[in-house]
Symmetry: D2
Subunit: 290 residues, 4 copies
């Protein structure tokens, strides 16, 4: 297929690379051109419009609502052919996702929300978990793209925002787990308990999943910087969760608490802090030494 | 060894049974005698004192601080021989655990805190996770008991309360995970997302551990009653966590939130509710139908 | 002056009446015409545009951002003469207020944000507290309007949103006081303390202001319905507070808590509940009888 | 009457002085003797027992539960004559208050809980607000003491702890108001609103009581140190509130939040900080400059 990849950050690079590898005809665009130029086997477009112009699928992987809206207005809406599919893989707000769907429909274009779980190394290995929502027939047509970049595609509904909600639920639970682990580790440290034994015990018995082992390790070893999943992005995601919850009139008290903790931690932490710095913030609030 | 088991509830029964099976000489005591009488191969004592009198190890598995203090004052302190070991496996407060250690030491008795992870079926299968803290030499002597009831013994420190802190950290993280899952599921329901797909996706990718699969399943299927891990016991444990945190001057905002949520949920829920009813409470706070 | 009053609810009616009484030439518009027709001495306009067309000052008193945006787009922007002033007295978001200011400026119109404190009876008595922000010269020109409706005008800044922020701070503190009083009263009830004595003591010694006497009385006497200051409006205002705080990157943990409490209380309370029903919600969460 | 005053801190000094002035025969005791010696016209006792021995009323004004328990065990229980009254004016836990009542009753002594509202200058001026609970006849007999030190005595119940609950409700609302004001001021600062105008407006219209004017002024002027009402004492009181609430199974989410905020603020603030430093903590969490 002819696929445009809009946004060549760490995630977009792995995705574009794997699309090339799978034999698709790939055009890439990125705000800073050099990152796009680094994708071997892909054509580099000079504008979003140029990238979208003869794409069958345009996959966007951008940082937030603002960046995606800019790409849409700077060419994607106008240039994407009728009948082509916009696959939106960024972590964006549920409300924007549904709005985009309507706007594309009005232009005769198709739209699938397909955010992913997986860090850059997982993207590079074509092992992403793809969460897709939209009309089933459209997802079917985009499936070759998902197969090239991911390990498995989960179909979670007909309405695009449902995929965004699922992605946000996942990120919410990650941030929540980090905060809870941070508090538990602060308590353990305050009571002179060896936190690495605590973590080993917890992850062998109760919480053996990837989130607890990954972030638990970072917290116990005080690896707060540089960021894997940045504290600023965690705050962004919590804000999106709260916006989605508010739209559905669902109170989420833990999410509210995470918002306030992440915002305060961001003000008080060095730049480039990881979401694990929530644990550092909790430790300092407990008067514990660095 | 001659082992007394004080407290034959669901957990104590499995423990006593496995001690008999491992060849130990077991005496059991329970407030309501019939449960004690059901342990084949064990002698039934008429009082705590009678059970403790010639024990080498007296293992207590009681419901809370009050019950343990009662057993201690109603015979355990007086009857346990000098040089014998009190193994305290109940989930009790860290402060009581350290106080008991001192009181036993003054009587020439030894003390190990050894709370366990595992539900009654795990206890019956001799697969408990034992968390032991106290003097290493004393734990060595009690090891045959731990070997008979558990899969592995984790030694987490010299001070008995350290084992209680570890146990409380685990239970805190369980309750916290249930609350967070409950909020996420409420959001998903509010946005018409299929929650069983959401859960499958989350537990396959991010949270594959036992807590998320077990409680996630209960929440998605709305199995709020009867209780496996009762909401009342969850509240009890959160109170113990907060007491330990307060003693160490560690603020734990998520634990505070869990306290208030569990207490309110307990007031508003039918009797015999499981900790999963935190999700029911969250759903009702979101105006979602039963 | 020629003054248009857009929005003749309980507050707008008192305002329009007092403007007539002060000798101004008043035109009124309301979505349901009968309320507008009830203002003696005022001309009733058939549209926002007709009301605004030859106004020197157009004062809007509408329910929320959506209603105000509708009025602006349905005639106010187009019909208000160059050099005329839009006085916005609704409780709206800070961000909308600043956006309106820019939009009016682009049309050569002036804009002042002037939300008020005071319930309908205070509006009827021309005793409102007016909080004005905008260019000083524009406020000077609008001052006769403020003098006709209020007791005192507070000038709080050059940027219109500053007045909205002040209004929101006030409403936030009202809701926060109600929640705190509700919790204190629940504790007192739980401990069999006479809550009317408690309230009298508190308001004579520590909290003699209007908010505590008014809402404290409602809480102690369990006057939760009908609404004076509706729970739904309280939630709306807390949402505006949180939006303003988020825009300024200020965490407000009490406001977050109020959001979640008000939203849950709204789902669980009968229609037409007052903000005082936060105390009812707190009492039920404590298992107290009605 | 023959009155012993146990505990001559800033509050006790004013009380003892006014009792002398009113013509009572006053004996004073303090852990550091020099403060006791500074009360003109009073006899200085060398021990609690000596002070209590021939008192008709023994008024205790000590720092906390521990200090009061020490005084009781170091002589007050043993030396206070049968039929004499212990007036407990310290801010102590509700549970200790009821326990003391029983212990005194067993010795044929009477007990009244009579905590007070008012800072040291109010105590010095004999203008305290006295909150008394206990048997009416006992309060009647202690009334001359209350008349000498206070402006008015509020009788709030037969059970002593009811007075302690009322006192705790008051202090809870003070701390809660400080926290809410701190958040509002942080928002205002974040939006470039003049906070002194904000405060003037709020206290003239909505919150004219003593707490908001006093602490609002401190917050706006950033007078965080030295302490009038110390942050550490505020934390102590919030802990007592939470203990009383937990005993009555009443969730108090704002109190929980205050606990965590005050504890973290205490760890992060310079020594001798006032409860107003909650606002400093909130401002720093918002990234605002000093």
């Amino acid at each position: 297929m002819r696929v445009a990849v809009i946004g060549i950050g760490k995630m977009g690079a792995g995705i574009a690379h794997n699309l090339v590898k799978a034999g698709h005809t790939v055009t890439v665009w990125n705000r800073s051109r050099d990152k796009a130029a680094a994708i071997e086997g892909a054509r580099v477009a000079n504008s979003v419009a140029e990238a979208a112009r003869d794409a069958e699928v345009a996959l966007t992987m951008l940082s937030d609502d603002t960046a995606l809206a800019a790409a849409l207005n700077d060419g994607l809406f106008d240039a994407l052919p009728r009948g082509a599919i916009h696959v939106s893989s960024s972590t964006i707000s549920a409300s924007l996702s549904d709005r985009i769907a309507d706007d594309h429909a009005a232009r005769g274009q198709d739209y699938v929300a397909a955010p992913v779980f997986g860090r850059p190394d997982v993207a590079a290995a074509a092992q992403l978990t793809v969460i897709a929502a939209g009309p089933a027939a459209v997802i079917d047509r985009a499936q070759p793209v998902f197969d090239a970049i991911g390990r498995r595609t989960w179909r979670v509904g007909d309405r695009p925002s449902q995929a965004n909600i699922v992605k946000l639920c996942g990120n919410y639970l990650i941030v929540s787990s980090v905060q809870s682990l941070g508090e538990a580790v602060a308590l353990a440290r305050g009571a002179d308990v060896d936190t690495s034994v605590l973590l080993e015990l917890l992850t062998e018995n109760l919480f053996s999943g990837r989130v607890h082992t990954t972030y638990g390790g970072a917290i116990v070893e005080k690896r707060y910087r540089p960021a894997g999943f940045g504290l600023d992005l965690a705050l962004k995601d919590v804000r999106l969760v709260l916006a989605a919850a508010d739209a559905a009139d669902v109170p989420m008290p833990v999410a509210s608490l995470l918002h306030d903790a992440a915002l305060a931690a961001l003000h008080r932490s060095p730049p480039e802090s990881d979401v694990a710095a929530l644990a550092e913030f909790a430790a300092k609030n407990a008067g514990l030494p660095d």
